[in-house]
Symmetry: C2
Subunit: 238 residues, 2 copies
Amino acid sequence: MTLAPHSQSHIDRPSTAVDNVIFSVIDNDLHVLLVKRGEVPFPKEWSIVGGFVDTHKDNDLEATAQRKLIEKTGISAPYLEQFKTIGSANRDPRCWSITTIYFSLLPFSELKPTDEHVEAAQWFKLEEAINMPLAFDHAEILKDCADRLRSKVLYTSLPVHLMPETFTLSELQKVYETIIGETIDQKSFRRRILNTDILIETDMTKQTSKRPAKLYIRNPELDTHFFTRNIEGPNRQN
Amino acid sequence: MTLAPHSQSHIDRPSTAVDNVIFSVIDNDLHVLLVKRGEVPFPKEWSIVGGFVDTHKDNDLEATAQRKLIEKTGISAPYLEQFKTIGSANRDPRCWSITTIYFSLLPFSELKPTDEHVEAAQWFKLEEAINMPLAFDHAEILKDCADRLRSKVLYTSLPVHLMPETFTLSELQKVYETIIGETIDQKSFRRRILNTDILIETDMTKQTSKRPAKLYIRNPELDTHFFTRNIEGPNRQN
DNA sequence: CCTGTTTAATCGCAAGTTGCAAGTAATTGA
DNA sequence: TCAATTACTTGCAACTTGCGATTAAACAGG
């Protein structure tokens, strides 16, 4: 049996893209990776990594996200999560367009764009990036996506995807605090994390000129852990 | 200045749709509204409400979701939330396709499809619908979407959007329990809800042949409330 | 070699929340 | 008038968290 012709003709289809907000924590600051556009509209403006779905190359949306990231920066993203989809007649001056927005988390040990991308891909502090004139509606996307990340960090183990292969609990706590923007009680934090199986304690310690701290790795067998309570921060009990 | 031609040609664009999982609670059971397809592929099979983005009629994705819902059932959805977007080369036998999936919550007082839709739109218990042969990947979408709803109900005030204009706390608790699938401690539930501003107490009571219960309305000035703790259910403290 | 400093890790507890059970209250129907 | 049913309130044991204090493991400097 032959299939009926598709009822959405090609000419009536929106343009379809993927955008990917790449986060990392560098020097205790949340950073975002931006790329510089070449073509109009918005030539030479910084923007979020992304591009069109290629129906010949990409098998699904995540494949598009990964392909565009590697094409534009030379970096690939071990952790990729869908944030939301925006589609409207207004966001691109040329046509109806849809973009599915992801965010990626990158350990700061894997940050460097490859040589041929150094000029057109760059890390910015999030607070700086939000206040730059970015292409399209990317400043707002960035802000909303960061808000989502900030929320999720309160009740999940997401920040472990920002850590290098081994790390200490104090380093992990510092990353949590960097994203949330407040201090976390050290006792509560350790208890919270060690009451789960999200980390595996190694035999190694990190030797600096202080008391050596135990080193941990992320438990690769587990997905993101969802806590039943949010981190509540200083004096929030009432 | 004229804009550069769009770099994603029309013929290379995926088909672009919106799907909308419509939930309600009827007789203490979570239900979902399905419609019967006419055209191939999957003729005469039940499916989730949805359809293609119309770039001439729709200003954005939510407009598509609302338009398709009214076209197919005569019902409109006061509460609409984006769930996720699926896009791949594999989900439609004809072409690369993307769908942005929403879910809607409908009070059971607003359930009836209009007369001309009665035959092709019908409410099913969720447990039945999940086990029916639905078009495309709709059974899996349904299941995943219900899982999302179940999760969100543990830490948000979402179920108030399933209530009629006035309702009692016991009725609200019953809806929470229906979705979660477990009982909730009555004292904890009342305290949790009444410690927020999500409901407004009315002067009225619901008079049945028992102690009259106070009637509440949803506070229309507030968005969904996010609790800092999940509902934890029987003997979950540890 | 000893000591001070810094950071990691642990201990103790007051304050607050929740789950459970019991009690009180407001109605209707028999 | 009273029993039954449901709504609503009270009380409390069990548990968790935030905060502060203490102990421990290192190194650098004297």
